[in-house]
């Protein structure tokens, strides 16, 4: 008797690969932040808005759409708040603010964000 011809469904599937066929896992901003080790220098913000009056007059508010961790929020009263403790020290807001209205420095040594991969 001739050997039975195997159809594609009879061929054993690799067990390892099968576990990695789902869609890539996506993270929202908060979960993205949670992948990082951040040591917060409590009470000592390294970023500050210099003059809220300038923010009130700033129409585009580019800081709110360019920070990679969305640290800039416009409050109901029109003031701009920096959630500085989430900062990953990329340097964007320092340059994007058209009025140089952000006092920007690095967190003190030993504080801020740490990459394990980079």
């Amino acid at each position: 008797m001739a050997a039975e011809v195997k159809g594609p469904s009879d061929i054993a599937k690799p067990t390892g690969l099968a576990n990695f066929l789902g869609p890539p896992k996506l993270l929202g901003r908060d979960d993205k932040l949670a992948t990082l080790v951040i040591k917060v220098d409590e009470g000592s913000p390294h970023l500050k808005i210099i003059d809220q009056g300038v923010c009130l007059k700033c129409i585009e508010k580019p800081c709110t759409v360019t920070c990679p961790v969305e640290n800039y929020k416009v409050e109901d009263n029109g003031h701009t708040t920096i959630y500085w403790s989430n900062c990953i020290e990329c340097g964007t807001c320092r340059i994007i603010c058209p009025f140089h209205n952000i006092s920007w420095r690095y967190p003190s040594g030993g504080f801020g964000m740490t990459y394990r991969y980079g």
Binding site: F20, P24, K25, K32, T35, V65, T92, G109, R116
Partner: protein
């Protein structure tokens, strides 16, 4: 009394560490300041390390577990919303151990490796310490001021190796503000078992692949590019976009990354992956006009701090230029030390050697291409889509009403029509000419 040393280096990235290594070998007292917990703890990059300079000093690096995979495939592709047109270059004939001097790497691992080499040679590494500014006296730089008790350190020469943001070069008055042409790089390192990576990207052993996605559907038609690099059991996936273009898009950078990851073409390569780390940093892409002075009295600027990157749709280099400039700066400082003169004039040979080297020449040659791209958005928001449409027209296998198939001749005519009607042969020709000019001069 402030502490004293021969050379104070700000930063412990690839440029800093190789300079520290050479200076320490040359017998000088070197202190390297790093603001992170360890070298590489604050650093990220796309992911391909170019090892031409590295291999000369540390020929054994491939066996030292400091890099991930050697690249055997470079793939460039254009994306529309659902399609891809790609060009792949596979090169299997480069010899071990350095192959084509292109290795994927992770900075938290590589930077530590290189800084250790500098320490072994006698350089002192001080971590968790931010340098806020240079100390100047009578118009020359005489040391650095670190943000800690007794943080003043005097030195004959300061090396600003603090990367893209380079507040040190700025504090020394060697450059102004960074321009909006600087690029924001955003990435995730996602995990996948190594067998799955090798299977999916058709790699054997430690071979790796570097995929670049030029504009088009990668970053919503903006000037910018996506990338995907295979590490051992992780993949680096991300994109770079000039700040000006990002601002104009008005989408949150973290959402743009998710969008790129979920592009139907990219998503298939990332199946089953789990994000392990999110990161973002600036790439100092700028015109010669915005670059800092490379030397001042008692100070030299190297690597990313000096704006030495070749970041454009074709190449993403910078680590090699950082290491090359580190070598040239260190050798010049050794000469200056012999002569006992650390003036800008005595340090000038660093700048002139730099300008003769690939680090400057590649920067200079390709920044023209980047400038051209800035004024020709159609290379990102029009042509990729049009080329994909052309390919789609030509390769469509279409039935006719009578149950037969559209002849190829008709498809070719449709392509020709499209070229004439949509692409605008005249303006496309002119754009190509601009691109060629920019690449030539």
């Amino acid at each position: 009394m402030a502490e004293r040393c021969d050379v104070a280096i700000v930063g412990a990235g690839p440029g800093a560490s190789i300079a520290a290594y050479i200076l320490a070998k040359g017998g000088l007292e070197v202190i390297m300041f790093e603001r992170g917990d360890y070298p590489g703890s604050k650093a990220m990059f796309g992911g391909v390390l170019y090892t031409t300079v590295l291999s000369k000093y540390f020929p054994d690096f491939p066996g030292a577990n400091c890099v991930e995979r050697h690249i055997i495939e470079k793939r460039f592709s254009m994306l529309s919303e659902s399609n891809e047109l790609a060009l792949s270059f596979k090169f299997l004939d480069f010899e071990p151990p350095y192959y084509n001097h292109s290795f994927t790497a992770l900075r938290a691992i590589f930077d530590r490796y290189l800084a250790k080499k500098a320490e072994e040679a006698g350089a002192v590494l001080v971590t968790q310490t931010v340098v806020d500014e240079v100390i100047a006296s009578e118009g020359r730089v005489v040391g650095v001021r670190a943000r800690r008790e007794g943080g003043e350190v005097l030195a004959n020469v300061v090396i600003a190796a603090d990367g893209a943001n380079s507040l040190i070069a700025q504090s020394a008055g060697l450059r102004g503000e960074l321009p909006l042409s600087v690029i924001l790089g955003v990435k995730e390192v996602v995990s996948l078992p190594r067998e799955v990576i090798e299977d999916r990207f058709s790699l054997e052993g430690d071979e790796g692949a570097a995929y670049e996605y030029l504009g088009g559907g990668a970053v919503r038609g903006a000037m910018g590019a996506g990338f995907l690099y295979t590490n051992r059991d992780t993949i680096s996936v991300g994109y770079g976009i000039p700040l000006g273009a990002l601002k104009a898009l008005g989408i949150q950078p973290d959402e743009l990354l998710n969008e790129f990851k979920m592009h139907p073409v990219v998503r298939r390569l990332l199946r089953g992956t789990t994000p392990e780390e999110y990161s973002a940093h600036l790439i100092p892409e700028m015109t010669p006009h915005d670059l800092p002075h490379f030397v001042g009295d008692g100070i030299v600027v190297i690597g990313g701090a000096a704006g030495l990157v070749n970041a454009n749709p074709l190449f993403h280099e910078g680590t090699n230029m950082a290491m090359a400039s580190g070598v040239m700066a260190a050798e010049t400082i050794l000469q200056a030390h012999k002569a006992g003169n650390f003036s800008a004039k005595a340090l000038e040979p660093y700048a002139s050697r730099l300008r003769e080297s690939f680090a400057w020449q590649d920067y200079d040659r390709y920044q023209g291409l980047t400038r051209m791209a800035e004024t020709h958005p159609q290379f990102f928001n029009k042509y990729p889509y049009e080329f994909i449409k052309l390919a789609r027209k030509l390769f469509s296998v279409a039935p006719t009403d009578d149950g037969m198939q559209v002849p190829k001749r008709a498809l070719e005519l449709a392509v020709a029509d499209h070229v004439l009607a949509e692409l605008g042969l005249m303006s496309f020709g002119l754009d190509l000419l601009d691109a060629a000019k920019a690449a030539m001069f």
